[in-house]
């Protein structure tokens, strides 16, 4: 390529008068599709598609507006061209990025961190609402996943998990976006922000515990409103570290559809992490046994307690308020009456103080079982020894 490059520069030298480079001057060379430069042993195209550039947000600018170091060049430029400083115009954005997790000072391997062009492109930058833009909602996951879906990059950054991309695709937000093509579904920047992305551990992060309800509430407004009135929401508002927020039950990148079996099976396990005693008694019931087998046919936590609207039993609006039990149980047990709801879905028959009646029924069964097995166990062993002994004697 070198002889050609020289030839091209010579041509340029003859053709142009001694003045600053104009865009058309640049394109004299850079409109050549074969124009390349060798970087680290690989050919890198230096071709600029005039039409693409003219159609981009920067189409009205001259090349030298961004490639400032070439502004004083009269006819040719050397092999090394300085990196474009977007911050010269976009200083506010640059400041955001400088304070974000993508800031160069944050990384062990700085070269892995994105620059403006990694997300926005170079000569083809389009406004975010243009469907062909790298940062158009439908294209955002692919743009972010160039790095965040890369096992290789993740291997160099212990805080990165390359599964986030496949998880996102498998989750509800991903399915709605990619399969249903609904661009109002949440994409990466809707939850994480764009230029000011921060670690979830940072209290200023949109996905930090402190802010995640607001972030989800941008779209799921009515649900967050209900949540804030619930036991969980009130606990959260009180500043408790134990209070569940949206991702505590729904997960983050892979958000399962609430109606799906998979979600219902896992959500019960998630409830049990904070409510182990309720889980233990639940497991002693048919509801719990069916659930334990991974089936959703029987009632699970949200079926009786609600999901976002969980309220204490004493609250008249609570699904488990005694006045509402006939309705709540009746959702599955059609025709359930006042008698029916005297069933104790969290009875603890191991606890003599809590449920003495059931405890004694259970104790009676334990005594019956132990009695039968101990008596007949001894009976059987002795009989075997005797009969074995006699059979051998008979054979001899």
């Amino acid at each position: 390529m070198r002889p050609f490059l020289i030839a091209a520069t010579v041509l340029l030298l003859i053709a142009s008068p001694a003045a600053a480079l104009s865009t058309s001057d640049c394109l004299d060379c850079h409109s050549d599709k074969d124009l390349t430069k060798t970087v680290d042993g690989q050919d890198k195209s230096l071709y600029i598609d005039e039409k693409t550039f003219a159609g981009s947000v920067h189409g009205d600018l001259d090349c030298t507006d961004c490639h400032e170091d070439l502004a004083d060049v009269e006819d040719e430029h050397g092999e090394t061209v300085k990196k474009v400083q977007c911050a010269n115009c976009h200083d506010d954005v640059a400041e955001s990025v400088a304070n974000s997790i993508h800031a160069r000072s944050n990384a062990e391997v700085a070269s892995d961190l994105p620059t403006c062009s990694d997300c926005h492109g170079k000569h083809d930058i389009l406004p975010p609402d243009n469907t062909r833009s790298h940062v158009f909602a439908l294209n955002i996951p692919a743009t972010c996943c160039k790095c965040h879906g890369s096992v290789e990059i993740a291997s160099r950054h212990p805080s990165l998990d390359s599964k986030v991309c496949s998880d996102y695709e498998a989750g509800m937000h991903g399915i709605v976006l990619i399969k249903s093509g609904i661009v109002s579904s949440a994409v990466c920047n809707d939850c994480h922000g764009s230029h000011d992305i921060k670690s979830s551990k940072d209290p200023a992060s949109r996905v930090n515990r402190a802010n995640v309800d607001d972030t989800c509430g941008k779209c799921h407004a009515s649900i967050v409103k209900t949540y804030r009135q619930s036991v969980h929401g009130k606990l959260y508002a009180s500043g408790s570290k134990d209070a569940p927020t949206c991702p505590s039950c729904h997960g983050n990148h892979r958000i399962d559809r609430a109606m799906d079996k998979e979600f219902m099976v896992t959500v019960t396990k998630r409830c049990s992490q904070c409510h182990p005693e309720a889980d233990a008694t639940f497991k002693n019931t048919y509801h719990g046994q069916v659930t334990g087998l991974g089936d959703t046919a029987a009632a699970q936590c949200p079926d009786c307690h609600g999901a976002h609207n969980i309220l204490p039993k004493e609250d008249p609006a609570s699904m488990i308020n005694p006045d509402n039990l006939v309705t709540t149980c009746g959702k599955c047990h059609v025709g359930a009456n006042e008698n029916f709801v005297r069933y104790m879905p969290h009875a603890d028959y191991h606890d003599v103080k809590k449920d003495p009646g059931l405890y004694y029924v259970y104790l009676a069964m334990v005594i019956l079982l132990s009695g039968v097995f101990i008596f007949f166990g001894i009976h059987t062993i002795l009989w075997f020894l005797r009969a074995y002994h006699d059979e051998r004697k008979k054979r001899d």
Partner: protein, 288 residues
């Protein structure tokens, strides 16, 4: 030579007597089928946290399908239970020759009585080499226990099972906490039944050295004269004395019946053994 060999080979030389009628054998067949079906479809629930339970429930087509199969076998259980009650009533009203109480406490009744207590003590003494083997009559104490256990078991499991099958209906007459009681009873009584049948009953009836590997009597209905005299001397002597022995004289079992008996018997053993291993395994796991 053990006694099962004796049924099979030398047995043909012996005289044969009828111990169980077709009706008895048919009911026992219903018991085998429904019991195995109920255990196989019910145990996954009880041990729902074990991996085998999940795998087995999936293999059955999910626990909901298993529940339908379970209820089908429950219907068979109710069927044999009522068929037996009908038979017992028919026997008491039409067949019984002695006065009611004399019959009830006599050798042809399943009612446990004083002789059974004596037999238990004598049997234990014999186990320990402290006395002679007790002389049994038509029904031994462990056979009466098996019978009463089915009676009691079907009662407890059947009633609690019905409560759990139709909770909305039963809640019209009774408070909801009966379902809490029903779950404990159903589940633990089922464990008792499965554990008992698959270990104690199998050993007492089939696996003990005198009978090993299988007692064919419930399948063929027949015993040899030698067996009858050895195992139930009191019954034999009474029948001789009454002159009733010849009335129960019968043909030897057919080869086909013996083949069937083996298929059914060994299948039941297999299922029982697997279930016992899984139950014990899960019980140990739960303790941890």
């Amino acid at each position: 030579m053990n006694d099962s060999m004796h049924v099979d080979q030398a047995g043909l030389e012996d005289k044969w007597y009828l111990r169980f009628t077709y009706y008895h054998r048919f009911l026992h067949a219903l018991i085998i089928i429904s019991f195995l079906g109920l255990v196989l479809t019910g145990m996954p629930l009880k041990f729902n946290e074990s991996a085998w339970a999940k795998g087995w429930a999936n293999l059955l087509g999910g626990i909901q399908t298993a529940a339908y199969i379970h209820r089908f076998f429950a219907l068979i259980t109710f069927l044999y239970f009522f068929l037996h009650l009908a038979f017992a009533l028919y026997y008491i009203v039409r067949v019984r020759k002695e006065p009611f109480f004399k019959w009830l406490l006599g050798p042809n009744s399943m009612m446990p009585w004083i002789k059974d207590v004596d037999d238990i003590i004598a049997h234990f003494r014999w186990f320990l080499g402290l006395g002679e083997r007790p002389r049994f009559d038509r029904f031994t104490y462990w056979e009466k226990f098996d019978y009463m256990a089915v009676f009691w078991g079907v009662g407890i499991i059947g009633v609690s099972g019905l409560l759990l099958w139709f909770p909305v209906f039963f809640a019209k007459f009774m408070p909801g906490w009966v379902f809490n009681v029903a779950i404990i009873l159903h589940s633990d009584e089922a464990l008792l039944a499965a554990g008992f049948i698959f270990t104690i009953h199998f050993f007492n009836t089939h696996l003990r050295p005198e009978k090993f590997p299988l007692d064919f009597v419930i399948f063929t209905g027949r015993v040899t004269e030698k067996e009858l005299r050895h195992e139930r001397p009191l019954e034999y002597e009474r029948l001789v004395e009454n002159g009733e022995l010849e009335s129960i004289s019968t043909t030897p079992p057919s080869r086909m019946t013996l083949i069937w008996a083996r298929i059914v018997g060994f299948t039941a053993y297999g299922i029982g053994l697997i279930m016992i291993i899984l139950i014990v395994y899960s019980a140990i796991q739960e303790l941890h």
